[in-house]
Symmetry: C2
Subunit: 346 residues, 2 copies
Amino acid sequence: MQTDPQGSASFSAESYFATQPAPASLDNDRQRVRAFVRRQSEQGNKVVLVTSGGTTVPLERNMVRFLDNFSAGTRGATSAEYFLKAGYAVIFMHRQFSLQPFSRHYSHSTNPFLDFLEIEHKPAPNESLSTTPEITVTPEKREDLLSVLTAYKKVHRDGTMLTLSFVTVNDYLWLLRGVSEELSEMGRDAMYYLAAAVSDFFLPRQKMSEHKIQSGKGSLHIEMDQVPKILKPMVDEWTREGFIVSFKLETDPQLLLPKCRQALERYGHQVVIGNDLNRRKFEVVFVSRIAPKKDPAHPAATNIDDDTFTESWLRLSEKDTHTREIEEDIVNELVRRHRTWMNNGR
Amino acid sequence: MQTDPQGSASFSAESYFATQPAPASLDNDRQRVRAFVRRQSEQGNKVVLVTSGGTTVPLERNMVRFLDNFSAGTRGATSAEYFLKAGYAVIFMHRQFSLQPFSRHYSHSTNPFLDFLEIEHKPAPNESLSTTPEITVTPEKREDLLSVLTAYKKVHRDGTMLTLSFVTVNDYLWLLRGVSEELSEMGRDAMYYLAAAVSDFFLPRQKMSEHKIQSGKGSLHIEMDQVPKILKPMVDEWTREGFIVSFKLETDPQLLLPKCRQALERYGHQVVIGNDLNRRKFEVVFVSRIAPKKDPAHPAATNIDDDTFTESWLRLSEKDTHTREIEEDIVNELVRRHRTWMNNGR
């Protein structure tokens, strides 16, 4: 732990894990991941870790107030469905109560399932006058529900999805490290799709107030420390061979590409997917690094700039936004790149 | 607007509404409330406003980060069901994506409805070899679902629930004022059940950052202003005759009763329901004020202490916590008190 010029503590990943407490469920979660990874390996399945939803930063130990990051979990939940469709097994690590694959189609706010269930009074089988009420599905909703339900049942039958949950940024960091270490067993066959919106700041346990912060004493002052940049140890230590995809969300279009490139430079992983808050449903950009093609005979002759990036934009046409989801294209592109990554390792 | 000794702005309700922008949906929401109140009045229904869920305090105008208050919306959603059952019409004003009456029983995380739907392949009616898949409800889940669905359909058929939503504390404050003013038309026939967990602090629009706050520049400093205490103008101006119930949630048991009494003293409304964060599912306390019985012939002889409070505790036994919900008892008690309140006004 170091103190920056402003006097606040700056945590390395190492000092973070040495000083902040692990969540109580961590050991159990790791065991579940271990068993899942073993089973999928035996069946020859590739595995993708999908992280999804925002993280909270509690301001009190008895949590009443917290800082949060905007994320309903749409990107993660939708992508998980397409990964499953593409034959991947999925570890779905999501913020508690954020959207989940399959049930996401039936948000209680926008498409409540109670609205398309009906009560039908059918005559009882013994032809008496009494009727037994039956619950049926509204005909016009039947086809869509049948398709979602069929995919859902298949995933449960095949055991190809493991669901884990987190709430705070501390839960998230510990769980990500644990899952990555377990999943690193699969080497290049594992993909990491880090779609969760993780807080950049946190309040160390040691600085938290025990009880609800009382109002009535003027304004509220909060000072938070930076969350350590965990992509670096993830690439260097936790899972050296994994195919790692991170996300950058910005609201200022000028910053999007520079921030994506900066992340690749700093952490050395495979892909950054950039998206603008207001355009994310129909436009993303894949940023990756062109590895210098070293000529083994003339190592000194390599003059391709090590910091050359490729950027490919993926856009849905306006017509398509109403009938298709951009996550289908994102996943297809990543599956293709992951295949190349695996072949390069052989 | 005044500046406190620490130099931060302190807003009165008046200066708040004069300086912070109204949400775009406000006029439309008010019109919906007006029509709803008129229809319920014609039908002789009492109306309760139930507020539910937490409010957010955005740190950026293009919201990525926000301060939030812990609340899934269980208290509000559950109570709304019991108010409907007791014959009240309900204006359910909730934080977007928080729990809602009826669908709350089928949380996607803990009781996903896809789990109790089944696909049955029944022979087609023409007795050919093809089958048409049908969606049916798992037998052991049928009775519960039928009961929830029946109540849900009845409310929709009768038009006795109006749902409104908010996200930020600013949305909430404007909407609460608007709904209260519309509902004040009903005088003593209206109840206000303020179960939402409202932030005590906010960031004035004028102080917000336009874009996502960038990390990488050391720690994060936030300074927030106090949200004006709106119960005071609510009681004095927005709805003078309404039966107003507010909630106090604390984590320190020592503070619970003093804070409840303080709220009644300051705002002069009817009931404060106090609850401890960890005991709220099975224990609450009703705090109200004993009005001094003034003798009109001898006004000076009134010597009952104006600040005498009654406290009645409501507790579920351990056995009951598994089969009953404390909101049923809370609502029954309030319906009884509201009846007295209405009679006293006649």
